[in-house]
């Protein structure tokens, strides 16, 4: 582990009775990185975040944030953390501003000019009681609460829940700016387009086990992509089947479509050897397809 590592977990494991919620999680997330944490419902994402926040204690293993142990140094760590829990709940009888004041007092104060700027940016109404706000507007108060002390590490569990697309974009911009300033963001989300847009790396967790950790670009480039080839004449599908990495070939009229994760050079060589290729269209897989592929493997 180097000083550049913001979040480090070592064999982090959490059992609820005999249920394995999280098994042997080893992870390093560096400073300034936005780390997307993906997985189906009940995969262990929230358990990971709650363990890192010292809400629950690991059965075995340990974790550090900014070099400090998440259990023994938890109070010190929380000076430097912004947190949005999943299924955010706040005090219904307090206004947004009262809520922020309460948490700000527990932190020894915050810069209220910055808070007001955040509220303006998210179009959040801090004068209303939290209990009277819609889900999205309540979430805005939660986001401001996480950002207001300009933390070094952001722990976010489904932070975009209920936000409209415009506010989501604004929020993504806020995350990118924070990361550009050197903050680390641990982002658990089902909004895959958001993760794809902001994350540097992605970890996929399934039934408590970390399946893969990759850079978003690397993951996408390695993934199966859809290729459409157009010829001046009909070409039989069997021509492409022997090529390594080709799957699901279909031929209709002058159009051949296939899924492909092999060498593009080989595919083009075959396509142009005895036929006249008039057009080619290749589509990089988006995160959703990759995500679904990983999950389907579990079924």
């Amino acid at each position: 582990m180097t000083n550049n590592v913001a979040i480090h977990t070592q064999g982090l494991t959490k059992f609820y009775g005999k249920v394995e919620a999280l098994v042997d999680l080893n992870l390093d997330i560096v400073r300034g990185e936005i780390f997307g944490f993906l997985g189906p419902n009940g995969a262990g994402k929230t358990t990971t975040i709650r363990t890192l926040m010292d809400e629950i204690r690991p059965t075995t293993g340990s974790a550090t944030i900014a070099g400090l142990d998440t259990h023994t140094d938890s109070v010190e760590i929380r000076n430097h953390i912004g947190y949005i829990p999943g299924d955010l709940a706040m005090y219904p009888n307090l206004t947004g501003r009262d809520t922020l004041t309460y948490f700000s007092n527990l932190r020894g104060g915050v810069d209220w000019t910055y808070v007001d700027a955040l509220a303006a940016r998210l179009e959040a109404d801090l004068s209303k009681k939290v209990g009277d706000l819609s889900t999205g507007n309540r979430q805005k108060v939660g986001i401001i609460q996480a950002f207001m002390n300009k933390p070094q590490v952001y722990m976010m569990d489904e932070p975009s829940a209920g936000l409209d697309p415009l506010v989501q974009r604004e929020f993504q911009g806020m995350m990118k700016e924070a990361a550009a300033d050197g903050a680390t963001i641990f982002l658990s989300s089902h909004t895959l387009s958001e993760v794809q847009r902001v994350a540097d790396r992605v970890g996929i967790i399934r039934t408590g086990h970390l399946v893969t950790v990759e850079g978003v670009q690397a993951l996408r480039s390695k993934a199966i992509r859809r290729v459409d080839l157009y010829f001046d004449n009909s070409v039989d599908a069997s021509v492409f089947k022997p090529i390594d990495g080709v799957r699901d070939v279909e031929s209709r009229n002058h159009h051949v479509s296939l899924s492909f994760d092999g060498s593009m050079e080989e595919l083009l060589r075959v396509a142009t050897s005895n036929y006249t290729l008039t057009d080619i269209n290749t589509q990089e897989a988006d995160l959703e397809e990759i995500f679904l592929t990983y999950y389907r493997e579990a079924v």
Partner: protein, 551 residues
């Protein structure tokens, strides 16, 4: 009516009435067993008027006190309170949880939904009273106790209809307001005032007739355990119950359903008004959230608004009332056996101290302090976890121990305020009535009540710290308090068990007669020590546990 709405409501609500009924049944067995072991001949010496008030018939000595005190007295209060709690959440509970929209999103009419919920309330209450009836009939047979001419069937039937009356009253309020807290608060207030009025008014000839304006009169005045069912009284309560049911159903149909919205209070309007904004902000805004203990205090303000004025006024009233009743009481007091009075806190009813002890310090003041401390103790940790806000609170740089300590500070503050309210009330009552009670002794007794409340509040805190479950924290603390109260009241009646009363914290509250003898510092130290140990235990337990996440 919808069978599945009925079934779900029944499954959601069966626990409190059944637990209450089983507890009362056990208490009846316990009470009769204890009385069986003591010399009960003193009953024959009791004045007729007193026996009648407590529903104690001739020749039914052992069972008489058991049925009178356990069933007709606090048993009835308990069952009516449980029923009104169920009635208050029938419809408004769904609104508070935000599930009413989902429920009525199905092809379900409001009328049938409300009727199904009311039917569930009747059903769980009926089952609870069947348990009470079985315990009432079986206990004397098992213990071989002669119950004379007492009519247990009539008593249980009248208790059932009386409980339903308050349950449906709360249902009607809940139906019209959509606010379970308003429904529960108002109906509980009416019940308590009614109970007290019907108990006290007949003692004063000039106002005795006013008792008829309070519904409790139609349960207690006919003395069903002595005289069987008074069908006139039964009809009044039954018609009232049905009327409240209809009113509730009409209310649900007439108004807008509430969402989880918290509504606007007076203080919110003052904050919104530029003229009053600054002053209101001081009260409700920044100041309110400056510290964990202050915010906790602001969340429980309503408790004080209700409890302290009622406690104060009642404490004040007792003084002049003693002067008015002085002679009658003195002659009564001479006839009262010490054993009997110990159940009601002990003391000589013919003296101001004894009268205050029986009327206020025996039950009323400890109940008020315990309600406040147990509510705060339960909400402190388990409540915050139930609301899912503990994770967010602990995302700030605060130690878990700090949270426990700060919330305990609120509990201490509130217990002291209730104790102070009682002190001021009793002191004022003594001055108004010219009773000449010792102020230092009143203060000492109120301080002991405060310490007693803190011990049980800390128990709720510790149970919440251990489990994170509000039900375990509140029911656990209340259950232990009831058992401790009973132990302290009953065990001293029998020489062979008297020493065991010392296991009850209540023993260290009044056993030394602090109103007469002043502060028993040793007893105060024991209660304070118990409180501190339980708070320390709460810190230890809470630090070691995974936080719960609901939802």
């Amino acid at each position: 009516m919808y069978a599945n709405v009925f079934t779900k409501t029944t499954l959601d609500r069966w626990k409190p009435p059944l637990i209450a009924a089983v507890s009362l049944g056990v208490l009846l067995i316990f009470g009769m067993a204890v009385y069986r072991g003591i010399d009960v001949s003193f009953w024959d010496e009791l004045p007729e008027a007193f026996r009648s008030v407590f529903g104690i018939p001739d020749g039914a000595d052992v069972g008489g006190l058991a049925y009178g005190a356990i069933y007709s007295g606090y048993g009835m209060l308990t069952m009516a309170a449980v029923a009104l709690a169920g009635g208050a959440v029938s419809v408004a509970g769904e609104e508070k949880n935000g599930t009413i929209g989902l429920l009525l999103g199905n092809p379900v009419s409001r009328t049938n939904m409300a009727l199904s919920k009311a039917a569930a309330l009747v059903a769980v209450t009926a089952v609870a009273f069947i348990i009470l009836w079985l315990a009432g009939v079986a206990t004397p047979m098992v213990l071989d106790v002669e119950i004379g001419t007492m009519d247990v069937n009539a008593l249980v039937v009248m208790m059932f209809v009386n409980a339903l009356f308050y349950g449906m009253f709360a249902f009607a309020l809940s139906g019209w307001t959509g606010k379970s807290s308003v429904a529960a608060g108002v109906s509980a207030g009416v019940m308590v005032v009614s109970f007290i009025a019907v108990g006290l008014l007949p003692l004063i000839d000039e106002v005795a007739g006013l008792a008829k304006f309070f519904p409790w009169y139609y349960f207690s005045s006919g003395e069903p355990v002595l005289n069987g069912i008074s069908w006139g009284d039964f009809a009044i309560l039954a018609v009232g119950t049905i009327a409240f049911l209809v009113i509730g159903v009409v209310g649900v149909n007439r108004r807008d359903l509430r969402s989880q919205s918290v509504g606007t209070k007076m203080i919110d309007r003052l904050r919104a008004n530029p003229m009053t904004h600054k002053a209101a902000e001081m009260l409700a805004g920044t100041a309110r959230v400056s510290k964990i203990w202050i915010k906790t205090a602001s969340e429980h303000q309503a408790l004080l608004y209700v409890i302290v004025p009622v406690l104060f006024l009642m404490s004040v009233m007792i003084g002049p009332m003693f002067t008015m009743l002085d002679d009658t009481l003195k002659s009564l007091g001479e006839q009262f056996p010490e054993e009997l009075l110990s159940l009601f806190g002990g003391g000589d009813m013919g003296t101001p101290e004894g009268f205050y002890q029986v009327e206020m310090f025996g039950m009323m003041i400890p109940i008020c302090v315990l309600v406040v401390t147990i509510v705060i103790g339960t909400a402190a940790l388990a409540g915050e976890e139930k609301r899912n806000t503990m994770g967010l609170l602990l995302a700030n740089p605060v130690r878990r121990s700090t949270i426990v300590v700060q919330k305990t500070l609120t509990m201490i503050l509130y217990a002291v305020i209730v104790g102070l309210g009682a002190f001021l009330g009793v002191a004022a009552g003594s001055l108004l009535g010219g009773l000449g009670m010792d102020m230092g002794n009143i203060a000492a007794t109120c301080a002991l009540a405060t310490l007693l409340g803190l011990a049980f509040g800390a128990l709720a805190l510790a149970l919440g710290a251990a489990t994170g479950l509000t039900q375990i924290a509140s029911y656990g603390a209340v259950g232990v308090a009831v058992v401790a109260f009973i132990i302290n009241g009953f065990l001293p009646l029998n020489d062979s068990t008297a020493a065991w009363a010392k296991v009850s914290p209540f023993y260290y509250y009044l056993s030394s007669d602090p109103l007469i003898n002043g502060m028993p510092w040793g007893h105060a130290a024991i209660l304070a020590g118990l409180f501190l140990i339980l708070v320390a235990l709460s810190v230890w337990l809470f630090q070691r546990r995974d936080l719960r996440q609901t939802g």
